[in-house]
C-alpha cells in the first residue's frame, strides 16, 4: 500500500527508479532504464512481467497492474466446483514477482490507454508511463447476447464461474444447496471461447459429485457447437461409462436468452430448458480495456497481433497476449498458451528495447489436462511454430495428440503441471 501512495505522490519515473534500486537488481538502465507496463496478472501477464525482468538482467523496469489481491487459477478450478480441491489449492500470491523479481505491483485496474503520450490511467487516479505496454486482460463476457442477464440480480443467480474466484465458490454452494433429483444445466457458447475442454471437464466434475452426494440428479450439457469441441471421444466415453444415466449431451443448442427468475434458458432453435442450477458460460471477447482501446479488430472481439512480438496490429508499442488475441489456427485459448505468449512477448520486448532483433523462429507447445474424475485425467498436446510465409503460428505436422484413455498417472502429471506452471508464471 505504501508503494502505491508513493507512486501517486512522487513522479512515476522517480518512484520506479527507486523501486529498481530497492530491489538491488538495477544492473542496466536503472532509473532511466526502459519502462514496461503489464496490464493483467493472469497466466499471460504475470509470466511476461517476470520474464521481462529476468531476461533484461533486471534492467527494464516492470510495473504490473492487477486488481485482484492474488492469482487464482482457472485450470484446476473445476475441481473446486466438484469438491475435491479448495480455493486455497488454486490461489498463489504475487509476492515472489515483487520480492524475487523486483516487479512493481499496483493493485488497481486500467481505465484508459493514451497511446500517443504512452500512459495508462488507473481507476485510482494515477497515471503510469510506458515505453512498451503489454496487455493481457483475458476475456470479458458478451452479456448483451443474453438480454435477460442484464435484469437486476440475474448475474448473481445465473453464474458463469468462468473466471476463477468468487463465482467458483458461489457455483459450488448452489450445487451443495440443490435438492437431490435436480438438474444442473451447463450452457456452452460457440467457439472460440476460453479453455475449449473446460466445460466438458466441469460436467464430469459435477457428475462425480452427484454420484457421491446426489445420485438422483442429472447433468445436462447444452452446447451451442455442433459437437464436443475438444477431446470429444474421451469425454463421451466418460459420460457413457462412468456417468451413465447422469450426463446428457445436447449439441446445436445456441442459447439466446436467460430468465433468471425461473432459471430458464432459451435457444435459437430448441425448446426452453429449466434447471435447478443454471450455469451459463456466455460468449466472450477480449477484455474490456482492449476492446474500448480499439485493439479488438477481429469481429470487434479479438485483438490481432504479430506472432513474432505480440505487438498489436492496431497500435504501436502495445503488445496483446493470452485469451484476448485472435488466435492462430489450432491455437487454444488456454492458460498454458498464455504463459507461452508471455515468454515470447517478453523476449521480443527485451530485444526491441535493447536494439536487438526479435526471435524469428518461435516454437512452443500446449499441454492441457482435463480431469474426468477427481483423479483420472485426459490430455491434449500440440506444438506450434512460426510460418514465415503465412506470418502465423501453425502446428507442426505429425506432432501432438491426446491420451489413449483416462488414467490416474496423468492425474498426477496434471497436478505436477499445475505446480510447475504456477511457479514458472509467479515464482
Amino acid at each position: 500500500m505504501k508503494r502505491r501512495q508513493f507512486i501517486q505522490t512522487a513522479s512515476a519515473t522517480s518512484a520506479l527508479g527507486a523501486m529498481a534500486l530497492m530491489s538491488g537488481c538495477a544492473t542496466i538502465g536503472g532509473a532511466n532504464g526502459p519502462k514496461v507496463v503489464v496490464v493483467g496478472g493472469g497466466y499471460g501477464g504475470a509470466t511476461a512481467a517476470k520474464y521481462v525482468r529476468m531476461w533484461s538482467d533486471y534492467g527494464i523496469q516492470v510495473t504490473l497492474i492487477e486488481p485482484n489481491a492474488s492469482f487464482i487459477s482457472c485450470p484446476i478450478s473445476n475441481l473446486v466446483i466438484g469438491g475435491s480441491k479448495t480455493m486455497a489449492d488454486i490461489t498463489t500470491s504475487y509476492d515472489n514477482l515483487v520480492k524475487r523479481h523486483g516487479v512493481n505491483l499496483i493493485k488497481d485496474y486500467v481505465t484508459q490507454i493514451d497511446p500517443d503520450k504512452r500512459i495508462v490511467k488507473l481507476a485510482g487516479g494515477s497515471e503510469v508511463p510506458y515505453d512498451r505496454l503489454i496487455l493481457s486482460p483475458g476475456v470479458d463476457f458478451m452479456m448483451e447476447s443474453l438480454p435477460g442477464m442484464s435484469k437486476a440480480g440475474a448475474q448473481d443467480k445465473v453464474l458463469h464461474a468462468w473466471k476463477a474466484g468468487a463465482q467458483t465458490v458461489a457455483l459450488r454452494k448452489q450445487l451443495e444447496a440443490m435438492p437431490d433429483g435436480g438438474v444442473y444445466a451447463l450452457s456452452i457458447p460457440l467457439a472460440p471461447y476460453r479453455c475449449p475442454p473446460g466445460p466438458y471437464e466441469r460436467a464430469c466434475q459435477v457428475a462425480e459429485y452427484f454420484i457421491k452426494a446426489k445420485p438422483k440428479s442429472k447433468v445436462l450439457i447444452l452446447d451451442a457447437n455442433d459437437d464436443v469441441t475438444s477431446k470429444g471421444p474421451l469425454f463421451k466415453k466418460a459420460w457413457a461409462e462412468r456417468y451413465k444415466g447422469i450426463v446428457e449431451y445436447r449439441g446445436k443448442h445456441n442459447a439466446t436468452d436467460v430468465d433468471a427468475a425461473t432459471n430458464t434458458l432459451k435457444f435459437e432453435f430448441n425448446d426452453d430448458v429449466k434447471a435447478a442450477v443454471l450455469n451459463v458460460i456466455p460468449p466472450m471477447r477480449a477484455g474490456d480495456i482492449a476492446v474500448k482501446s480499439g485493439l479488438a479488430t477481429a469481429n470487434k472481439r479479438w485483438c490481432e497481433v504479430d506472432f513474432l512480438t505480440f505487438e498489436s496490429k492496431a497500435a504501436k508499442n502495445i503488445h496483446v497476449l493470452g485469451d484476448s488475441i485472435q488466435i492462430a489456427p489450432a491455437m487454444p485459448k488456454s492458460g498454458h498458451m498464455a504463459n507461452q505468449h508471455g515468454k515470447t512477448c517478453a523476449a521480443a520486448v527485451v530485444a526491441l528495447l535493447t536494439g536487438k532483433e526479435p526471435n524469428k523462429q518461435p516454437i512452443y507447445n500446449n499441454t492441457c489436462y482435463s480431469f474426468v474424475s477427481s483423479e483420472d485425467v485426459v490430455h491434449v498436446a500440440s506444438v506450434h511454430t512460426y510460418d514465415a510465409d503465412k506470418k502465423t503460428m501453425l502446428t507442426v505436422p505429425g506432432s501432438g495428440g491426446v491420451s489413449s484413455a483416462a488414467n490416474e498417472l496423468e492425474g498426477r502429471y496434471a497436478m505436477a503441471w499445475a505446480r510447475n506452471i504456477w511457479a514458472d508464471t509467479l515464482a
Binding site: Y51, M54, W55, H336, N339, Q340, K343, T344, A347, A351, K356, E357, N359, K360, Q361, P362, I363, Y364, N365, T367, H379, A381, S382, V383, H384, T385, T395, V396, G398, S399, G400, G401, S403, N407, L409, E410, R412, Y413, M415, A416, W417, R419, N420, I421, A423, D424, A427
Partner: protein
Amino acid sequence: MNKLIFLMAALLSTATVASAQTASTPDPLTVRSWAAGCANCHGTNGRAEPGNESLAGANKDEMVKKMLDFKAGRKPATIMHQLAKGYSDAQIVAIAGYFAAQKK
C-alpha cells in the same frame, strides 16, 4: 526439414551482428526462448517443482537420446512422444545444450 532449420539458423546467425555464429549453432537467445517453452512443465530454466523431471544441469547427451527416443517411439510416454515430434533434431540438441548449462 533439418536442412531447412539449419539454413534458417544460419540466416538468423548472419543477421545477428552481436555474435559470430557457426552455421550449425542457433543464436543463444533463440535457443533460450525455445527452452522457455519447456518451463511450463519442467520449471523456469529447467528447475522443476516436485512431480516433473528437472532438466537444469542434466547430461546433454542423455537428454538428446531420451528426446530422440520419444520422437521415434522407442521410449513409451504419456505425452512426451507427442511433443518431441514437434521439434527438429537440431532444435532438440540446442535445447538440451541450454538446459545442460543451467545451474541445478
